[in-house]
Assembly symmetry: none
Homo-oligomer: 202 residues x 4
Amino acid sequence: MSKRNGDKKEIILEAAKIVFAESGYHGASISKIAKRAGIGDGTVYLYFKNKEDILITLFHDTIHNKFAEQVEQAIRYYDDARLALLELVRNHFDFFGRDIHLSRVIQIESRQSEQNVREGMKPGIQKYFRIIESVVERGQEQGHFRKDVSSRNSRKMIFGTLDEMVTSWVLSTKEYPLIQMVEPAYKLFIQGLLECGKSDGI
Amino acid sequence: MSKRNGDKKEIILEAAKIVFAESGYHGASISKIAKRAGIGDGTVYLYFKNKEDILITLFHDTIHNKFAEQVEQAIRYYDDARLALLELVRNHFDFFGRDIHLSRVIQIESRQSEQNVREGMKPGIQKYFRIIESVVERGQEQGHFRKDVSSRNSRKMIFGTLDEMVTSWVLSTKEYPLIQMVEPAYKLFIQGLLECGKSDGI
Amino acid sequence: MSKRNGDKKEIILEAAKIVFAESGYHGASISKIAKRAGIGDGTVYLYFKNKEDILITLFHDTIHNKFAEQVEQAIRYYDDARLALLELVRNHFDFFGRDIHLSRVIQIESRQSEQNVREGMKPGIQKYFRIIESVVERGQEQGHFRKDVSSRNSRKMIFGTLDEMVTSWVLSTKEYPLIQMVEPAYKLFIQGLLECGKSDGI
Amino acid sequence: MSKRNGDKKEIILEAAKIVFAESGYHGASISKIAKRAGIGDGTVYLYFKNKEDILITLFHDTIHNKFAEQVEQAIRYYDDARLALLELVRNHFDFFGRDIHLSRVIQIESRQSEQNVREGMKPGIQKYFRIIESVVERGQEQGHFRKDVSSRNSRKMIFGTLDEMVTSWVLSTKEYPLIQMVEPAYKLFIQGLLECGKSDGI
DNA sequence: GATGAATGAGAGTTCATTCAT
DNA sequence: GATGAATGAACTCTCATTCAT
């Protein structure tokens, strides 16, 4: 049955997520993944071409199909780009804050892979990049956001900051909830480092 | 002689840099590195404990001893934190823009490593983190930078943005000089996304 | 029904013939054979013990039951051993010239098998060997064929030559019809290499 | 030292010969070969690309470099093609009669290999083919051998017969020395099956 | 100090075979 | 009878590391 099939693929992905998070991408052998999934080594190859394929699928399912999709939906009904950006930031931290294993895989392990794999992860990230950039562009059109910095570069700041904050949290002891980063991140995006109303950027 | 010794160690590090950049960390075998360095495989083990050790040393030498050191020197004579930050940004892009192989290793390959290695790279990054944070704190004391965002979080934005911009450049076709990212990065840091004097962050 | 049963067995053998010919004995997986036969992998095991069994059956059916049988019938009504030999040669090339897939399996792939399999192919070949030898012996009794070479050795020449000619054809681009080898083979068998009436064998 | 290198390669080939002969090409694992050679598994890969490479080298060394070479030398000083042919036959059986393991590999196991391998064995066999054909052609020019059968076809008879006789001996209990096949083979080549001076080929 | 041949643990992967459905 | 998902033994091959020279 297709039900079954989906189930087993899901089971393998779930097991792989845990193993990748705990042993790292290169320390994760097919054998370990299979054992954790409670299946035979060979069975993995019925559902995935190889270890790369597992990581790519995990990444794509997560980032392209779930995360980027969810963000897109979440900001759909905000007209003001500033509010849309706030919602985007909230979603980012909310998503990664929910599943520490997943976050570890996405933030750390997925970057430990060959050219090959990174190629397979591109569509997912780029979908997210385009979402961020479109928010920035909307803000520029609305006259809220500066136009002397390209939306591409603004996106690099936004994504770079969010990414660094999540990575930092993943590698930390996680004493604070990730969601509490929404406020500082948003403030920095909007007004930068400047003391409000008091100072200028020289 | 320690002179000689230093020489050979340097030669190996230089070779490793190229091989890591071209083949990736996991695709780089000791054999390849030794061949490129023009020495025997076994000789590598006279200077390094293992492959991990090479990467850690390469990273530490570069980031802790050269890069962070150089940044520290460069901002030493700026009193105004805003100008110090500008100089820091300039140094960051200047440093990584000069050596594409090195940049690739630092931005991409060094993240493809085990817990172990990342542990060894910590001192270097943290030295740089502290430099950034001290600039921010100085700005706060001077009344230029906001105090409602911690220096730690501001640092995450600054480092995250710079890092993302370098990574983006490394993975691109490098048609633009990295140094031209100084201006957009600095602007975003200082005033964020807002249109100057026209808009507010809601 | 035995009819049905026979049908499916036949279908599997036919599929196996093609797959063996195209992928080689060792490159032919049960899975490939089943797919080609349009049945499930497991079904193969209802009709055959294993892959070896398929090859042995294919060989035996072909060589013992069809080919040797047909040759035996064909030479039955020739009294003169020389004419019987000619007919045997004609049959040999005719049979293998008709089915290139089969020829490939018999000439090439069936020799890529373990002791085991070769054991199972013996009865078929030996039946053919006995046919050849009996023709030679008849020729000796009739005073046509030499008696200073044993029928066993003469058979080795005859079979070795025919076999080499078929193999050669199978591995070639097959621009010539195999049947045209009847004449040179027969001539060489009968009078050997000597120029007729002119020369002696020293 | 190059001496050493040659030694170890030779040791592996010798071990492989025995293992191929005893377990068959497909039953021979690299592990078995290494164990028999008294070396580590990995060492095999310092000298050979893979199992195929071992068989190809074994075959080429034996057939192209030793056997065909030796035959070429042996017949060099015979002017009369009939005597050259006799010497060729003698050499063939002498060579294969000396080393039963080698014969088994050449006659049986080397035919159990993929397209790939057979391609690598071609140069060796074809060198031998050309030697046989050149003897036949010389005989034709001398007026001793028939011209109504091409040298190519005559070669197929000669090689096919010799090959079949060796195979037959290899698969037998080897109660007779292979060298005693020289006489019947030569007789059949020269005068075929006909009773001398008494009969005709119809 | 320098070498590089040798090692063997351990990875990925295939596929004949089984068995619950 | 028919299926094909699941299995796991067994294989090939790589490469960090050692050590006799």
